[in-house]
Symmetry: C2
Subunit: 184 residues, 2 copies
DNA sequence: TCACTTCTATACCGACCGGTATGGCAAACA
DNA sequence: TGTTTGCCATACCGGTCGGTATAGAAGTGA
């Protein structure tokens, strides 16, 4: 609605572009966010954007890859394989619950991207990597791949319902369902 | 990619437009499908489209409403309240499994629309109606609203995973998880 | 000092978008 | 019969899209 608000002015132009693109893509949508608006938000011109990225498609892919690697780093840092499976699964769901509480949750970035970009886009590679990551993680936690895939479905469905309802309650219910599943 | 293929030529212009819009919106995406392409597919010109619909937004809303009411009719016709809950839940999931087998499944139309359309669009009303319908149905079947909401999450997550994988297998797993839930 | 890189600013491109206007033709209906 | 209604075709509107071209300013390192 309003003009681009105060952008982050730290870091290289490329970094600022990725930050700005991430904010706009995630909260306003990928197709809805024009390259001009992204550049403006980064305090940069369109020419600079195209000095740093081959195309908008590549920018989308790198934005998603940034999220993916950030998730991997968080998992490496905070997930404790020595902990009981229930706690590890709960932590995974609670990350989303916290994002909702913070008001920073706008749905699963990957499932949103899968709807917004064409199937042959660079970004879709990252989307597939994400799904593989999640299933691998739950497989590692529960020791069973079928269980892991079921939990992943509950996880994605929970995010969808949370987004639709605007509350964190569906995510809590999703967590409960997942915990019930691994308890049996 | 190619030109508009052979359109259905039965019915009024309005009906053909709704069919064409439905096919394009669902398989190619809402934002990706221009009004000109929809009109061409219906064997009609853009002027006729705007004689029958106020705006593209209204066309999207009526397309979704058509799907919603078709679902309601199917449920009224084929769902048997005398049957056991397990069978009724299974039938609900199997509808999607059949669509996947037919190659006519391209993800949940409502969750896709929710991503593609702005939050204040007419179409979002129909999306909310759909979610309420699903939860009401599962509540009717299971007798418990919390269980119903969990099943609905599994259902949505299953469709997401089915779309991502391109196979019907996640949907079968979702069905199994839902049945396990109501068995306890 | 000079060359190189990276940024800025601006102007432009062709394509497509949703939407409107006009005018004519054909069938349905009085 | 005359009139209305629905559809046709075409041409156009302003706006935005992703992407390119060009020329100059600023900082850097040799």
């Amino acid at each position: 609605m309003t003009d681009a608000p105060a952008p982050a002015r730290r870091g290289t132009a490329r970094e600022r572009l990725l930050v700005a693109a991430g904010e706009l893509f995630y909260s306003e949508g990928i197709n809805t966010s024009g390259v001009e608006a992204i550049a403006a938000r980064a305090g940069v011109t369109k020419a600079t954007l195209y000095n740093n990225f081959r195309s908008k498609d590549q920018l989308v892919a790198e934005y998603l890859r940034g999220r993916l690697e950030s998730s991997r780093r968080n998992r490496a840092r905070f997930d404790d394989p020595a902990q009981a499976p229930a706690g590890r699964v709960a932590a995974f769901f609670e990350e989303v619950e916290h994002a909702i509480a913070n008001g920073t949750f706008h749905g699963c970035p990957y499932s949103k991207a899968a709807v917004e970009v064409p199937g042959n886009a660079e970004a879709m590679v990252v989307v597939q990597e994400h799904y593989a990551d999640v299933i691998a993680h739950f497989t590692d936690v529960t020791g069973d791949r079928t269980t892991a895939e079921t939990i992943a479905m509950i996880y994605d469905g929970g995010m969808l319902a949370a987004k639709a309802s605007g509350t964190a309650e569906p995510m809590a219910r999703a967590k409960a369902a997942a915990l019930r599943l691994i308890a049996s």
